[in-house]
Amino acid sequence: MGIESALGKGFLTTRMDTLVKWARANAAWPMPMGLACCAIEMMAFAGPRYDAARFGSEVMRFSPRQADVMIVAGWCSYKMSHAIRRIWDQMPDPKWCIAMGACASTGGMHRCYGVVQGCDNFLPVDAYISGCPPRPDAVLHALMKIQDKIKKEHSITLDT
């Protein structure tokens, strides 16, 4: 039975890639980009009732240097988009992005000159959440989608 029988008790073999992806997927620290009302629902997502800690994501990092997932919660204006993009650029790779709510995804009801009609105009969004505002469990769902994505991505092995 392969190498495990030679190593004796207490050893388990796996692929490095799988291990790294498992670690990444279960410690996705969010960068809360709370811009409007959706941000209040985002707080509930980290609170005890919905308990993002189950997914290793309770550590909201207010420093982009330590965050993996940016949650854009709320509508973003053209003026704000530059600040958001700068913070995104400061986050280390690999990183993921959630557009939370109708406004972040499409501009929502703010169909006007000042609001960017969807933050995917300047950010690479991985998961969109519908709703106005979405419930915190929808944010958990998006987080789980991102976890699935992380587990499927290549981490340290090359795509051959």
């Binding site: 053209y78 993009r85 700068r86 006007c112 000042g114």
Partner: protein, 170 residues
């Protein structure tokens, strides 16, 4: 239409028409509020009088209106309150579409500073002698006035740049 004024508002209107008879254009009521349309050149005098003699010490808001008419297109409205008498009155001035300009009341009420910047930003009405007439919501180099009626709802594509999505190349 006959006006239904409280005692204090009646006094306000009487005082103004006594002192500035040729500067008042129109007094009317709408939705329970009283509006006094005045000539733009008398704005400073009348505002001073309202503050000093009639105790309208609180400038609650200044806003613009685009009437979209060929004459006197823009309107600037001053929302005044007297706390002592619990009264509110609106003062209106009108200006032309070409180079709309109104005197700044920021010397009389400090609050006017940001309110007037907002009207300038949104309607392009210039305020004479304003201490710091800069845009307040829109980017400094924005060329348009978004609340003018001909401005498209979704803005003018490309008029406000989005951040670059390839940061390594710029």
């Amino acid at each position: 239409m006959s006006l239904n004024l409280s005692e204090y508002l009646q006094k306000t209107v009487d005082d103004l028409s006594g002192n500035f008879a040729d500067k008042l254009i129109h007094v009317y009521q709408s939705s329970g509020d009283t509006f006094i349309v005045i000539q733009a050149d008398a704005l400073l005098e009348i505002c001073k009088y309202l503050k000093e003699n009639l105790h309208y010490i609180y400038l609650s808001d200044v806003f613009g209106i685009d009437r979209y008419t060929s004459e006197e297109r823009f309107e600037v409205v001053y929302n005044l309150l007297s706390f002592k008498h619990h009264q509110r009155v609106f003062i209106k001035v009108r200006c032309e579409e070409e180079n709309p300009e109104v005197d700044s009341v920021s010397k009389i009420w400090k609050a006017a500073n940001w309110f007037e910047r907002e009207v300038y930003d949104m309607f392009g009405v210039f305020f004479r002698n304003h201490p710091d007439l800069r845009r307040i919501y829109m980017p400094e180099d924005f060329e348009y006035y978004p609340l003018r009626k001909e401005f498209p709802l979704l803005g003018i594509p490309g008029s406000i740049p989005l951040p670059s999505t390839t940061p390594d190349t710029d």
